[in-house]
């Protein structure tokens, strides 16, 4: 498996630099945590990496994944998965169809695709939920579906944008273990941004503090 | 130079169109659609136009689309606008229901196609001698540019349950209104019927009505109309809503009469009261009458604009309107009740029978009872009276 390399990334909003020449190597099978208070540009950094930076920002620097240059690729070609603090399940699709949306197109045949989705649901302890309306699931269940959806797309790296912030304490530990377990088992480089030190401790990897945003 | 060539070409094509014989016109008309522009405030007339459309489609393969107008002038404006935009053919108006100032305006500006009348086979049935308004519209010679299709004459309409002896002179009308404030209404003067109310009064009030047959001038207008304004100044406060608001049209006054707001008004159709009683839009007690010295009458025409896209079909339709079948159908009070423009006595036996068989409603006067028909004054009187009325009472 391959590392995610961020090389001298700078993101600015007009004259103001949010991220200044930020470099980082996320090794495969590890979780690297980027900490910082809100407004430090953590989420913006992730959107640059995934290729979905809002055009009001200007970004420079390279994103390299497994030796391949990602910087100029469209987001849908990068194969970099992302999870937000909201599950963002598509409300018009059933749980199964949400997963099918993610499932890589290289998996062919109706039966095969259905089997893969069932398997993913099983992994998330949600067997038989395929035809359910996502709105009828609990918050934790929805988050697990979101994780499986991201993984079914066969990403080569995973970005986590405070995905645990909305969950209550009891659920949070279990869900962290669930996400990290699945990601690391697949040997993915994982980049987590958070302002919660507990997240960083649970990630058990390198921690980088962005510090307060430059004024 | 180019302009001359175009003019020559225009003349050539016009003459070419003229050379067509009637069967040829009928042949060319087949498949065309006539856009008949006309005031559409009267449901029965709209129904008649629809009927005529079905007939000419069945008989001649000509379709008729009624373009419903609030005001005939809208169609005139359209032709004017088309001319100003250089659209000398393929115009959007094929036929206009027209008379009075609108006709004069179109005739003076050369916006009409024709002469059409002599080319219509049925035109020879028209009574020009006995019904002079068929050939002279508001003192303006028609010159074959407009086809007469129905006659109108002013009648006064009253509710006999509330009035036993309606006023038969213009001064008596004022006396009655003062005794019965709010119960007399005439349509807004911008409406044709409303202006006609003033003209009708002028006929009786002015010392020498003969001057009305000549154009009004700056020199004589004030003197001729002075008695009218003196009379109207007294009448207005006794009108419906103290003369501060006027119903838009004759049909609106009819509604007021049906609601019991108004007891006396006027109409341009002698049979309208009867048909309105029949369809429940006037009380059964309504009757009509005319003034002792007669009432104004005129003819409705249809005319073809110079740039009409479907002239042949328009002529076929106009010719059909003059047929005894259409004329008798229209005069039937169950349809429109409009008086025929034909010389019925000169029709063949079958034609005469069509008219003899027509019923007559309780509120409709006989031809004899309708009495003397006063010719319409020159259009300039109406224009000036309308303007003067606005100046005096519209502020």
């Amino acid at each position: 498996m391959s590392a995610l390399v961020l090389d001298r990334i700078t993101i600015a909003l007009g004259e103001r630099r949010l991220i200044d020449s930020f470099s980082l190597i996320v090794a495969p099978g590890t979780v690297t945590t980027v900490m910082g208070p809100s407004g430090a540009g953590k989420s913006t950094l992730l959107s640059y990496v995934s290729g979905t930076l809002d055009p009001v920002f200007t970004g420079t620097g390279h994103v390299i994944l497994g030796g391949d240059e990602m910087t100029y690729l469209r987001p849908e070609k990068r194969r970099i998965g992302i999870l937000f603090q909201d599950d963002l399940l598509f409300p018009h699709l059933s749980v199964g169809d949400n997963l099918a949306f993610g499932l890589a197109a290289s998996v062919r045949g109706r039966a095969e695709r259905r089997a893969r989705i069932e398997a993913a649901l099983e992994e998330a302890e949600l067997s038989g939920f395929a035809s359910r309306d996502p709105a009828t699931l609990s918050g934790g269940q929805r988050q697990r579906v979101a994780v499986m959806r991201a993984l079914l797309a066969e990403p080569r790296a995973l970005l986590l944008d405070e995905p645990f912030a909305r969950l209550d304490m009891a659920l949070r530990d279990r869900f962290r273990a669930f996400v990290f377990g699945h990601a690391l088992r697949r040997g993915l480089p994982v980049l987590l941004v958070t302002h919660d030190p507990d997240d960083a401790r649970a990630a058990a990897g390198p921690v980088i503090d962005l510090g307060a945003p430059p004024v | 130079m180019l302009r001359n060539i175009l003019a020559l070409a225009a003349i050539f094509f016009t003459t070419a169109a003229y050379a067509q014989a009637w069967p040829e016109i009928e042949a060319r008309a087949r498949g065309q659609t006539v856009y008949w522009n006309g005031w559409a405030g009267d449901e029965r007339t709209n129904a008649f136009i629809a009927w005529a459309g079905e007939q000419v489609e069945k008989r001649h393969g000509v379709k008729v689309e009624q373009v419903k107008l609030r005001d005939t002038a809208e169609a005139v404006t359209r032709v004017v606008a088309e001319k100003s935009a250089g659209r000398l053919e393929g115009g959007s108006v094929d036929l206009i229901w027209i008379n009075g100032p609108n006709f004069l305006a179109m005739k003076e500006q050369g916006l009409l196609y024709g002469p059409v009348n002599p080319r219509l086979p049925n035109y020879r049935l028209v009574d020009v001698e006995g019904k002079p308004s068929n050939a002279t519209d508001f003192t303006v010679p028609v010159d074959g540019l407009a086809v007469p299709w129905r006659l109108a004459q002013v009648v006064f309409v009253y509710d006999s349950a509330r009035i036993t002896a309606p006023p038969r002179t213009v001064p008596a009308l004022l006396a009655w209104a003062e005794a019965n404030p709010g119960r007399l209404a005439h349509p807004a003067v911008s409406n044709f019927l409303g202006a006609t109310f003033l003209k009708q009064a002028l006929y009786e009030l002015t010392p020498d009505p003969a001057v009305l047959q000549r154009p009004a001038t700056d020199a004589n207008f004030a003197a001729v109309t002075a008695p009218l304004w003196a009379w109207y100044d007294r009448l207005r406060p006794a009108l419906w809503r103290q003369g501060r608001q006027f119903p838009a049209t004759g049909a609106a006054v009819r509604q007021l009469m049906n609601d019991g707001e108004v007891d006396l008004t006027l109409s341009f159709s002698p049979s309208e009261a009867s048909t309105s009683i029949a369809n429940g839009s006037l009380p059964a007690s309504v009757r009509t009458y005319v003034m002792e010295r007669g009432t104004i009458g005129n003819t409705s025409f249809v005319a073809i604009p110079f740039n009409a896209a479907h002239k042949e079909a328009a002529m076929v339709l106009a010719n059909f309107l003059l047929s005894p079948t259409a004329q008798a159908f229209a005069q039937d009070p169950r349809n429109t009740g409009a008086l025929s423009v034909l010389d019925v006595a000169q029709l063949d036996a079958a034609g005469q029978k069509l008219f003899a068989d027509l019923p007559r409603g309780a509120a409709t006067l006989t031809n004899a009872e309708l009495g003397r028909v006063l010719p319409e004054p020159h259009p300039s009187w109406m224009t000036r009276i309308t303007t003067e009325w606005e100046k005096r009472y519209s502020r």
Binding site: D133 | K68, N258
Partner: protein, 557 residues
Amino acid sequence: MLRLAPVLTLALFLAPVAAGLLGTLLPAFHYLPALGGATVDLQPWRDLADWPGLPRSLLITVVTGFGATILSLLVALFILARLPRGALLRRLHSALPPLLATPHAAMAIGFAFLVAPSGWLARLLSPWATGWERPPDLLVVQDPWGFAIIAGLVLKEVPYLLLVGLAALGHMKVDRTLALGASLGYSPRTAWFRTVLPTLYTQLRLPVYAVLAFSHSVVDVALILGPSNPPTLGPQILRWFSEPDLRFQFVAAAAAMLQLALVVIGIALWRAGEIVVAALGRSLVRRGSRPRAIVDVAPPLAILLVITAGLALLAIALWSLAGSWRFPAALPQVFTVDTWRSQGMGLVTPVLLTAALAVLATLAALLLALACLENERRHGLHPGRGALWLIYVPLLVPQTAFLVGMQIVLIRLRLDGTWLALVWTHLVFVLPYLFLTLAESWRRLDPRYARTAACLGAGPARILFAVVLPMMVRPILAAVAVGFAVSAGLYLPTLFAGAGRFATLTTEAVTLSGSADRRVVGAFALLQAALPLAVYAVALLLPAVLFRNRRGLRGMG
């Protein structure tokens, strides 16, 4: 391609306005060579000044314009202020769509049927309460001051302002603000007017200007409810424009320019008023006074509004089914479907035409709006206030001011009376409303859905068709319903661009309203109200059926 969408859209819907304004401006100064006006002079203005009704007409135009706007705004604000509480007013929300869908003309006709001296109200109360055996000789509708126009407009403009206000309040944390106010000793209404209103009003400003412009220049409502001697400026311009005498074309153009000036001055005055009111408000805030809540006027106002509108529509329906209905009977003596039967095809054709026209104009507007919004979304654009003003242009420029000139241009291009001209003209009016309705929800869509989809490997087309559009079905249908209703209700634009050949339900209803039988007018007005209402109903019900198992979509739009 998509990047051209905003430019193309602006060109398509502003070009007619610009060309129309120019086409009105030149003849207003007597320049229209084809009509014999080759020199620039002030003759049209002199003729206009000579019209004896001018001072009076201007006065009532301004009275009705400002009267309707001020009254509509106040009523809407009092209702909005009460909205966070009060179940009754919450129910008002469900009464909004029918009120919004009903065209101005139908509402005006129904209102006239209701309050005229011989109207349904008088019939219901006579003779037992009023002693009237015959209708009283009272100037209630078509009154010389235009009060009936004001009432007719208020019935339609309040729901519109409520709709805009509700949408804006949806983004504001009103409950928390009011709770904070309460903790500082302010009654909810005082807190609302001092803290919520200033923010809310910035969202209401342009819609209020649109109401101001519309109320100054309205033609159909004024024809039905307004005085005729003289009328307000709108109908008078139409009257001049329809005069056979060429001279009046120039007068009509000059009057249309005067109308434009009136609206510009009106908006400027309104803006000045805003500043004064804001200053007064700030001084109240600084004084910290805490007036005790007096009578709450919102519930009676809302009830009056809904009941009046409801009875007006009911009166239309009753008349269309009446055989004979003499005063003072409370109900028709005879019920019959004769009117419907005798009108027959005369009703069907306008229904089909109205629907076809509305569908075409709405679809065109929808495609353009979707293209613009998708372009915005894809490229992360955030259009500023300038763009908003541009969208409002057709709603701020009085219709008469550019339609007069637009017809001249259309005739010149030989496009008058064609479907193209008609659909295009309708587009000019449909697009702003449709766009604003749709943009409201579209821009609220969480951009992270699209980002998530992209990171799952979906390209722009798949994101649009598989994620964004399905999630936007409800707002799209709502916007379509709004567009349809706007198109179905257009009077003057249909009349002018259609060369009078296109008889829609609205043109027919207005044409008939002044003259024909109340029963026939009732039938046309009822259909006119029913058609957009049916589309609204479908727009509300269809997503509920399509997504009956998708609870998460219910909040969308």
